[in-house]
Amino acid sequence: MVKFSVKDLNIWFGQIQALKNVSLGIEANEILSIIGPSNSGKTSFLRMLNRLNDLSPGFKTKGSLELDQEDIKKIDVEDLRKRVGMVFALPLPLPLSIFDNIAYGIKMHGLKSRAKISAIVERALKQAYLWDEVKDRLNVSAFKLSGGQQQRLCIARTLAVEPEVILFDEPCSGLDPISTAKVEEAMLKLKKDYTIVLVTNNVKQAARVGDRTAFFLSGELVELDRTEKIFTAPGDQRTDGYIRGKFG
């Protein structure tokens, strides 16, 4: 089943074109990895999916982008962002306690029952493999956690909203290998229930977790295929060059 369907997507920030005629489909319950050098448009693409680009000055777009066969511009933007969650490149806890970070989304959506909120917070923290480390200090500031813990907190915060799709924007760029492994483990478990789009600078990470991998270069989609295929027999020379580390 196709979750996201993208056709001839072009976007601009002021005079600069960040994406050029990108067309692709994202399947439900897959992990789609997006790789490519800096400025290749992969993060801009990701931020299209939850309309976060709308916040950037001078942003313009052309082409079609559908979630479950519905034009995302026709979906109420807050509803869209409930359905399409995001984990950012750097761990970005809100200046609140651990508990309130996780509870923030559902509270904003109007959930009042203290018991239900607590249950959701616990479930989300368990899903992100953080519960055991923080269960005794839920009222401590989220900034007291280590970087890796903070990033898992951000994943838990996204999960608490129960989205259908989770966007990961280079989620491990600031993390050590052990924290990275934990985040990757969480992603692989999550794909059963969620559709995951992972933008990463780490080619090996794409190879480890992605079902399919897309290679972006200068705002264009060069190639999209099953991950084994991309890493063993890429169809395009530029893809081959990038994953071998010849440029980028």
Partner: protein, 282 residues
């Protein structure tokens, strides 16, 4: 090598000198006011009505008048200023009109206070028929400190990291929820700084209250916001220039009370701000 060290020493000397040039006059003013004013301060001076044509007795009505005026100015200017700042920093698009508005607000804080006084006289006292009253004076002072409050509040709002807004929005919160629950709580210390500056200025200005509220001599307390009132800065002006043979220590005593009042209000605001900062979690 030796040259670098020498130019560093010279630079340090001038930087230090400049700082000293600022600190010494301020320090002197405070010392002189304390030295000459302190002997006048006693309970009667603070709690009694002025007597013998303001040459004796106390300055109680002027203290109360100034407190009312400052309170009125803040009650009027803080909510309006904060709301305007939220609009300008969070909602207003970056276009020519809004840039002109922002520039105009910054420049308004440079307008001489006597101009505000004249404006208050025309609008509140005459046109709206509030008369010379605490209401007119408070509104005039409020308008005078609005630019300070708007500018500092805007800076405070804009210094809240953009990433917090993105995170909040990405979780499906609305723009207003993001402002209300994330941006505003983290901007409060900065907003209070603006309020501190505004308070001090409102308490100390003479010109805006000259035409709109200040009574030359009124040995009773105001009964409503439509009454005239005495105020410390104007009282100080009156006993220094308009009334002959006022004892020097009465004048300096009045100055000392005004100074202490402003410092005390600032102190309260600083303590509030400190407590918010302590809670700040990033």
């Amino acid at each position: 090598m030796r040259n670098t060290r020498r130019s560093q020493k010279i630079a340090f000397f001038f930087l230090f000198l400049a700082t000293l040039l600022i600190v010494i006059p301020v320090g002197l003013i405070v010392v002189i006011i304390f030295q000459k004013g302190l002997p006048a301060i006693n309970w009667q001076f603070l709690s009694d009505m002025p007597r013998q044509g303001m040459r004796a007795g106390g300055i109680y009505p002027a203290i109360i008048g100034t407190l009312y005026l400052v309170l009125g100015a803040i009650v009027f200017a803080l909510p309006i200023g904060l709301l305007a700042a939220i609009y300008l920093s969070e909602y207003a698009k970056d276009n020519l009109l809004n840039r002109i508005i922002k520039l105009a607000i910054v420049n308004l804080s440079g307008v001489p206070s006597v101009v505000y006084g004249l404006f208050g006289l025309a609008l509140f006292v005459v046109f709206l028929k509030f008369g010379a009253s605490i209401l007119s004076g408070s509104l005039t002072l409020g308008i005078m400190i609005l630019p300070i409050i708007i500018t500092t509040s805007r800076e405070a709002l804009e210094s809240v990291p953009q990433s917090f807004r993105e995170v909040s929005l990405s979780l499906g919160a609305s723009k207003w929820q993001t402002i209300r629950h994330i941006v505003l709580p983290n901007a409060i210390p900065g907003v209070l700084t603006g309020t501190i500056l505004g308070l001090g200025r409102a308490a100390g200005e003479t010109a805006p209250i000259l035409f709109t509220v200040a009574a030359f001599y009124l040995p009773q307390l105001p009964k409503s916001i439509f009454d005239q009132a005495m105020a410390l800065p104007y009282h100080l002006y009156v006993i220094s220039t308009q009334v002959p043979n006022v004892d020097e220590k009465v004048r300096y005593g009045t100055a000392l009370v005004l100074l202490t009042l402003v410092l005390f209000m600032n102190l309260v605001a600083i303590i509030i701000r400190y407590n918010f900062r302590k809670k700040k979690k990033w």
